[in-house]
């Protein structure tokens, strides 16, 4: 085993590369001789597989969901090869069924699972702490802080996995995945596949067999705990002269601690589970007080307290978000009974409050993410916003933005695929007062294949009255336009069979007469299809079939312009929500009946308009026309 986890950084400067944590994991897995890598995209982990797919002598795939990706990795491990899968935090919820039993089996080839927690919720439906899975599944958790550590630790993780016969969890966070820093990497080692060996008592988890694996799992954890407390090179102490507080921390929080308190002693857990409790106990004896700085949940804190070690943690630090210097410095100042930096003339690091610059952000408009100019979802939400008496069960993807302005056309959203089951429940549980409401579900193509298909089967099987909009935009738009079984291309862009959605829906029990394919830019047709289907007491699926504008083959047409003389300022086109439509001036007019109306006159940003011909369909006076003789540079 490589005991010099950071020795690489001492190597020649000419070998340096500037890599994100995501690229570093991919490189580390490759250099460790990993043969199979699988993932379903999800921020902040998506790019990991985009990087592994660039290595030709390693198999990479986009799986349809995280559970399948883990199962593929498990199979490869059992085949005797080193195997890897990556996912965002919520992906591990989906994959957990496989994980919770595979921990009993152990591994053949090293098996590493990279899980990326979206600390700070930059792009997720929740914020959860994946370190729990280490405790729950009794598997080790490694926590890198930057790209070099990520690279070193993923290689190390494969060794650990084989040494202790366990899947290994590499816990990353957004601040690791999406930060680029300098790394020195090595070369790929050749790991021969060991070959599959039949061993039913270990590989077939019936109750009788599984029962005997439970003691193995606990024994393994005990051995790893000893290791964590002894020779494990990942749990290290950075000495410091200011011993009033010693810090116990891991991952990028370690960097924030070093930035904030450069003179303090710090215990850094690279292997944070099994917890090196005894090592920390020794460390505690060298400082006045111990503060645990861990992002999200008080896991380490709780376990140290249970071991009788006096620590401070979430009593002074928040239970959510990044523990950056602006959080740490004031909290620690207060603990030490020092004046809080914000209240001092010496604000922050030596900046006095009198000269510190104020925030202007509170007075500014927010700028949330928008759908793209000409996105095929725009026409769908414009149409949905015009259908009356609906309850719209939503799902996750770019189309979740339909819950916002100007459409307000989504009423629920929980997790991937939930639109189906939730819609059925809304139907079956409806109050008499909701009898006149139509239940709709909106789901993207990738989300449908990820977890939506089973929900649709449940709807047809149980005779739900739900109208489903399946938004087939031929891409995983949300995460950057990755391939999926609906695009007909694999992770390398090579052709493969393309799933036929109408046939699939039919096979899942939808009456073929209730399945329609509609061009979402043809809003009147879409409107009529929805109006018709919501009235029929049977599950229906309306499949929209125009691609995301990010796909390579998306074709721009000549841009449109607004003829100012013709524009009445009616604002209809603004309800489309296309970011290319700009207001030029506003007017308030008083109608004959005394009421007032706000008019807004518009123009189109011709440089970005793709000529999708959507907004003209909302314009009564035909003021939106293609620009004659338009050419693009």
């Amino acid at each position: 085993m490589d005991q010099s986890i950071s020795a690489a950084s001492d190597e020649a400067i000419s070998n340096r590369a500037f890599m994100s944590g995501n690229e570093a994991v991919a490189r580390g897995a490759y250099d460790a001789g990993c043969k199979v890598a699988a993932a379903y995209p999800g921020t902040p982990s998506t790019e990991i597989l985009e990087y592994t797919s660039q290595y030709k002598d390693m198999y990479s795939e986009w799986s349809v969901n995280e559970k399948v990706s883990l199962e593929v990795a498990i199979g490869a491990s059992l085949a005797g090869s080193r195997a890897f899968c990556a996912m965002k935090h919520v992906g591990l919820n989906v994959a957990s069924d496989a994980l919770m039993t595979q921990t009993l089996v152990g591994v053949k080839g090293g098996l590493v699972i990279a899980v990326a927690d979206d600390v700070g919720l930059s792009s997720s439906q929740n914020e959860q702490d994946s370190r729990f899975w280490g405790r729950f599944a009794h598997i080790p958790v490694l926590e890198p802080a930057d790209s070099q550590e990520t690279y070193d630790m993923v290689k190390y993780a494969f060794d650990l996995s084989e040494q202790f016969n366990t899947p290994v969890l590499l816990r990353m966070t957004t601040r690791v995945c999406h930060v680029k820093s300098v790394i020195t990497s090595g070369n790929r080692v050749n790991k021969e596949s060991l070959g599959f060996v039949k061993e039913q008592t270990r590989l077939v988890m019936t109750p009788a067999n599984a029962k005997h694996r439970i003691p193995f799992m606990h024994q393994r954890e005990a051995t790893m705990r000893d290791f964590s407390n002894s020779e494990c090179p990942l749990n290290t102490i950075t000495p410091g002269t200011d011993t009033r507080i010693g810090y116990v921390t891991s991952g990028p929080a370690f960097l924030h601690v070093s930035e904030s308190f450069p003179d303090a002693p710090v215990f850094k857990m690279g292997l944070s589970f099994p917890l090196p409790t005894e090592k920390i106990r020794e460390f505690a004896a060298t400082v006045d007080q111990l503060v645990v700085v861990e992002e999200i949940e008080p896991l380490v804190e709780t376990e140290l307290k249970a071991a009788g070690i006096k620590v401070i943690g979430k009593d002074i630090l928040p239970l959510q978000g990044e523990l950056a210097p602006n959080i740490l410095r004031p909290a620690i100042a207060e603990l030490l009974g020092e004046p809080i930096p914000q209240d001092l003339p010496e604000k922050r690091s030596g900046i006095s409050v009198e000269v510190a610059l104020p925030s202007l952000a509170d007075d500014l408009f927010p700028r949330p993410p928008t759908m793209c100019v000409a996105c095929p979802h725009l026409g769908i939400y414009y149409t949905l916003s015009k259908v009356k008496n609906t309850i719209i069960s939503g799902d996750i993807g770019c189309y979740t933005l339909g819950s916002g302005h100007p459409w307000n056309a989504m009423d629920t959203c929980i997790c991937m695929g939930a639109s189906m089951g939730v819609a059925l429940g809304l139907d079956k549980g409806r109050a008499p007062s909701d009898d006149n409401k139509s239940i709709l579900a909106v789901i993207g193509d990738s989300t449908f294949m990820h977890m939506g298909m089973q929900g649709l089967l449940d709807i047809t099987y149980n005779k739900g009255n739900v109208t489903i909009l399946l938004l087939d935009n031929r891409a995983v738009g949300m995460t950057g336009g990755q391939e999926n079984p609906g695009t007909g291309h694999n992770i390398h862009g090579e052709e493969t069979q393309r799933i036929d959605f109408p046939k699939l829906c039919e096979a899942l029990g939808v009456n073929p007469e209730r399945i329609h394919q509609v061009n979402p830019y043809e809003m009147p047709t879409l409107f009529k299809a929805i109006r018709k289907e919501v009235k029929i007491n049977e599950p229906s699926v309306i499949i929209t079939n125009q691609p995301c504008v990010l796909v390579d083959y998306y074709k721009n047409k000549p841009s449109f312009e607004v003829i100012d003389d013709k524009c009445t300022g009616c604002t209809n086109c603004l309800d489309v929500g296309c970011p290319a439509i700009m207001v030029t001036r506003r007017e308030t007019v008083t109608k004959p009946n005394g009421s007032t109306k706000e008019l807004a006159f518009v123009r189109i940003e011709s440089a970005v308009c793709t000529g999708c011909d959507l907004c003209p369909k909302t314009c009564g006076p035909d003021a939106i026309l293609p620009i004659e003789g338009f050419t693009r540079d």
Partner: protein, 200 residues
């Protein structure tokens, strides 16, 4: 290496404007000067059309990848309101470069919020050294709207701990390797940015 203290640069704008590319070029240039460098990325499509920032930090040794509040030496703002949004991050005495080209988001167009009259004036009011100019117009004049990035980098080049020519050469080398045809207009854009910042 010319300076051992950490230099903190915040690049701010809107998803899709090229904020990441500008930050990447600054980071790579600092790296080539032998500094330790950290740079945050906002990847994925989630930020499309939304607020985007990249933190670039370089020095002898950089710990946290996030610039601590109020410690940015330089803010490169790709849009006026997006520059104002981050004023608090600027170190007293720091410099702010602003592309004056306004980008109004749908949320303002549909009438839910107002765009401020003059975001740059509110920054200048605080006594900050601001260099504001319309980088988009400059880029258009040179012949390609995508040159905004190079214009902004040119503007930043006299506010860095290494010489302007080092940054210029780094950009030119990048284009020589990838798109040799664009070397000439990028050089023009770089110099135009430098000039615009000096004149404003």
């Amino acid at each position: 290496m010319t300076d051992l203290a950490t230099t903190n640069i915040l690049v701010a704008g809107i998803g899709g404007q090229g904020v990441m590319t500008a930050a990447e070029i600054l980071a790579q240039t600092a790296l080539a000067q032998g500094y330790d460098v950290k740079k945050t990325e906002v990847a994925g499509m989630a930020q499309r059309g939304g607020v985007v920032t990249s933190h670039v930090r370089f020095g002898e040794k950089v710990n946290s990848p996030a610039i601590p509040d109020g410690e940015a030496d330089l803010i490169i703002g790709f849009e006026p309101a997006e520059s104002a949004r981050w004023l608090e991050q600027l170190k007293p005495g720091g410099v702010m470069l602003v592309n004056q080209n306004i980008q109004v988001p749908p949320i303002v167009n549909i009438g839910l919020f107002d765009y401020p009259d003059d975001p740059v004036a509110s920054i200048v009011e605080r006594g900050v050294e601001v260099h504001a100019f319309n980088a988009t117009k400059i880029a258009q004049k040179i012949g390609n709207i995508r040159l905004v990035n190079t214009v902004m980098l040119g503007a930043s080049s006299t506010h860095l701990p290494f010489s302007a020519d080092i940054l210029k050469e780094a950009i030119m080398a990048r284009f020589r390797a990838r798109k040799p045809k664009l070397v000439g207009i990028n050089e023009q854009a770089f110099l135009a940015g430098q000039e615009a910042a000096a004149a404003s």
